[in-house]
């Protein structure tokens, strides 16, 4: 078969002064928002700590989602994503750093989780103490981060080493490691969701919750992958990333937004339908006191991607796709907000103010700072990857 493959050379990436300045400004905005929230808005402590908790989680979710995306594509022997492989790797390497952001929020745990107040637990919460107690909870957190960080760092190391000494067993090693990671991630993504989010409303439970949070995590990560890809492509750092790759990323965003909606609807409808009070109070609180946000959540995370990304062309235009991704990312921030605030802060104190809008800038800046450091440490594309050529010369359906 006649092949006419042109592999273009990348412009080397440099984490330059302008970029660092922009990130510093964003971080400053975030810190100012935090101070504003504490001193000017005089927000109650629970609202401040809950915001920090929410942002720490989103920071982690982005890296975790990228690592999952990498592993699952490796297992499926998929090739198109090789050209954005280094983006996935650098995002995954932010995972160990997110632990810092979690630890910083530890002083506020008492404000977020009611089960930490062991002196006055009601009967329901007493039953849960074998699982919901601080020592075991922290131990689990340490284990999660240890495992996830190990896989992110190990996979990265194998990938970068292959740039210099390509090995025969490279693919097999990546696949095997990814296999282990996927199993561990499948379990820990659910248990961590229970630990860090579901237990905020400690009287409530839902078997679907872990997978629902996973879907939100994954879509958020996809949105950020798209935004970063479009940005890097704009600066010619990834010249072999074409509309084909964007098309595929757009398909993922479209499909998994619908998957998120499916899980959102399943959880909501089933609890609504059976009308059992010990389950419904969760939604009653949100529909009654956070009504606009509750429906806006579905609007941003379902209607926008569904309508905006349905046509073929929409997924192939970089700026449009990035724009939709930003909207979807904001939508999933809202989803996380609705998962945390009603239970941790309550409808009287919760609000969307300077704190909620400004604080994410700090965390985004921190995320991007770590990302760019690691992205700059390796070649922008893994040129020795056996699937690199297939990734650079494929056409979408």
């Amino acid at each position: 078969m006649k092949e006419n493959i042109q592999i273009r050379d990348a412009v080397p990436f440099n984490f330059g002064k302008n970029l660092k300045k922009a990130l510093a400004i964003a971080a400053a905005i975030g810190l100012i928002a935090l101070l504003w929230g504490i001193f000017i808005s005089q927000a109650p402590a629970s609202r401040i700590w809950a915001n920090m908790w929410m942002n720490a989680l989103m920071f982690l979710f982005l890296g975790l989602g990228a690592l999952f995306f990498w592993a699952v594509n490796a297992l499926g022997e998929s090739t198109w994503q090789i050209n954005i492989q280094r983006i996935l790797e650098a995002m995954a390497l932010t995972i160990p750093f997110s632990l810092i952001l979690f630890v910083v929020t530890f002083p506020g745990l008492g404000h977020i989780f009611e089960w930490t107040h062991t002196e006055h637990l009601d009967r329901i919460l007493q039953e849960k103490t074998p699982y919901l107690n601080i020592p075991f909870w922290i131990l689990r957190m340490v284990i999660y981060f240890a495992l996830w960080s190990f896989f992110a760092i190990y996979l990265r190391r194998v990938s970068v080493r292959n740039d210099f000494e390509p090995r025969e067993d490279y693919l097999r090693r990546i696949r095997n490691t990814s296999g282990w990671f996927i199993v561990i991630f499948a379990i820990t993504s659910s248990t961590s969701a229970w630990d860090w989010l579901m237990s905020i409303d400690a009287h409530w439970f839902s078997t679907l919750y872990g997978w629902y949070i996973f879907s939100s995590l994954f879509v958020s990560a996809l949105a950020v992958i798209i935004i970063i890809t479009v940005a890097l492509r704009h600066y010619n750092i990834l010249p072999n990333v074409t509309s084909e790759h964007l098309h595929d990323l757009g398909k993922y965003l479209f499909g998994f937004s619908i998957f998120w909606t499916y899980l959102w609807f399943s959880q909501y409808m089933l609890i609504w339908y059976s009308n059992i009070p010990e389950e419904t109070f969760y939604y009653v609180e949100r529909v009654r006191h956070f009504k606009t946000l509750f429906y806006l959540n579905v609007g941003l995370n379902f209607l926008v991607p569904l309508l905006a990304l349905m046509t073929r062309n929409s997924k192939r235009q970089p700026l449009f796709l990035a724009g939709v991704s930003i909207v979807v990312l904001m939508g999933h921030y809202l989803d996380l907000y609705l998962a945390i605030m009603p239970g941790a802060v309550g409808h009287e104190a919760a609000a969307i103010g300077v704190l909620e809008i400004g604080l994410p800038f700090f965390y985004i800046a921190a995320f991007l700072a770590v990302f760019f450091v690691f992205f700059g440490k390796a070649k922008p594309v893994p040129e020795n990857h056996p699937y690199f050529i297939e990734s650079s010369s494929y056409e979408n359906i």
Binding site: I124, T207, Y209, L263, S266, L270, Y273, I276, E390, Y394
Partner: protein, 465 residues
């Protein structure tokens, strides 16, 4: 498009386009062998026996079954969910794997889709007959009537009517539209006049025009895009039959995605069971390779693991919730009178597919065949455990009772197995088992050795019709 040389070839042996046509058409042209006759006779006998028992049930009533207070659903709904679940693999292979550009799907999608349609037909029997008055079965459809009565759109049982009907019809559309070009191929290879005319009728007059192919590809892509959420929605709606209730073991939010994973899991197992035999019997080993079996096994291990995680989640949440009824429901599953069913389910569904992490087993046809049977047995028991153990002991101990099937129910189930295999045996004789045009489209890039000229056929092997 470049295909990495590291990839395993999808077609082994030296093949040209003509070879592909001849290999796939051979079973359609040739006279069936002794094994086929034995197979279809046994299946047909089972099928007829089952249908007689359905007639018996309709005549004498649901009292001929073992269902009673409080276990209103037993083998009937277990079988229904089992069959619908099996059907899901076909659409998954056709639609979802198409959207993910998995070229290996081209040699199994036709047979898998046919399997889907037959399985959904078998499934659909059960909701119809378990209502008792089968001649009044049309009541479930919303038609204008003199009583101004409409169906209950609030009920998941009605959502099922729409879901199963839509699924059956759209699957038939998807399968048939894909078949049209291949039926054209058969028409043009047939020499007998009546066979030519029949296949022309069936092929809708296909002639391979580029304009038609362009529309056909666009349509296939959209159908895939429609079928993908459809397949997810159908088994979700089936799960809603249980999850919208209030009893422990049934009312749990994880059911929708867990049922869908379980369906793909059991469906792929059935596809493997069928394909491992079919590839040998119809000499299609060059098209349905060990690589294909391995890819299907990977999906099995993924979906099987998801099912396993769902089990563990349910168990944990039963404890975490603190609800004593929920806790008892799961204790009862593990240690109560139906514990034997629970442990069969756990062994077959959770433990055995994990063996597929071992590459040697993933690529072993014997192991895969045996495992696929175990998985289907395990998935049948999963539905049995969900349906029966949750019903037999829920909130009120004075209502607790036991269920056992009658021979009528067993016969009906065997009858559906008979229906399934009868239709499948007919399918492989009348229609091409492999999607000819799709395999040809990937042949040049993905065959082990693609050749321009066909392998020389000895005169004695020339097929005569």
């Amino acid at each position: 498009m470049h295909v990495s040389p590291v990839r395993e070839p999808l077609i082994t042996g030296a093949k040209s386009y003509k070879d592909i046509t001849n290999d796939v058409m051979a079973p359609v042209k040739a006279k069936p062998g002794k094994l086929w006759y034995i197979g279809i006779t046994v299946s047909a006998l089972l099928m007829v026996f089952g249908f007689i028992m359905i007639g018996y049930t309709v005549w004498f009533g649901i009292g001929t079954w073992g269902a009673d207070r409080t276990i209103g659903w037993g083998w009937d709904i277990t079988n229904f969910v089992w069959w619908v679940g099996i059907g899901h693999a076909g659409t998954f292979i056709s639609a979802i794997l198409l959207l993910f550009r998995q070229k290996w799907r081209t040699s199994i999608n036709r047979a898998a889709e046919a399997m889907t349609i037959i399985a959904v037909m078998c499934a659909g029997l059960f909701p119809l007959i378990h209502m008792g008055r089968l001649p009044l079965g049309f009541y479930i459809l919303p038609y204008p009537n003199s009583r101004d009565l409409w169906v209950n759109f609030n009920s998941p049982l009605l959502w099922d009517v729409f879901a199963i009907t839509t699924y059956l019809l759209v699957s038939i559309l998807f399968w048939y539209m894909g078949l049209i070009p291949d039926l054209g191929t058969i028409r043009d290879r047939m020499k007998t006049a009546w066979k030519k005319k029949t296949y022309n009728l069936l092929s809708f007059g296909w002639k391979g025009s580029a304009r038609h192919w362009h529309r056909h590809e666009s349509m296939s892509l959209i159908l895939a895009g429609l079928a993908a959420p459809l397949v997810l929605s159908v088994h979700t709606i089936v799960s809603f039959d249980f999850a919208t209730s209030v009893i422990p073991g049934w009312h749990t939010t994880i059911f929708p995605p867990y049922f869908v994973s379980g369906a793909v899991f059991s469906g792929f197992a059935m596809v493997l069971t069928l394909m491992i035999v079919t590839r040998k019997a119809l000499n299609l080993e060059d098209y349905i390779t060990v690589g294909h079996v391995e890819s299907m096994n990977k999906i099995i291990i993924a979906t099987g693991s998801i099912v396993g995680i769902a089990y563990i989640t349910e168990l944990f949440m039963a404890w975490y919730s603190g609800v004593e009824y929920e806790r008892y429901a799961f204790m009862n599953r593990m240690m109560g009178p139906y514990a034997w069913a629970y442990w069969i389910m756990m062994t077959c569904n959770v433990i055995s597919p994990q063996l597929l992490w071992i590459k040697k087993l993933r690529r072993s046809l014997t192991f895969t065949f045996i495992l696929s049977i175990f998985i289907n047995i395990g998935m049948w028991f999963e539905r049995f455990v969900i349906v029966v153990t949750s019903l037999h002991r829920d909130y009120l101990p004075s209502s607790w009772s036991m269920y056992a099937p009658t021979w009528v129910e067993v016969a009906i189930f065997l009858g559906t197995l008979g229906l399934f295999f009868t239709l499948f045996f007919l399918f492989i004789r009348v229609f091409p088992v492999i999607a000819l045009s799709e395999v040809k489209a990937v042949a040049r890039s993905s065959a082990e050795s693609f050749i321009e000229k066909p392998v020389k056929v000895k005169p004695s092997e020339e097929p005569h019709i």
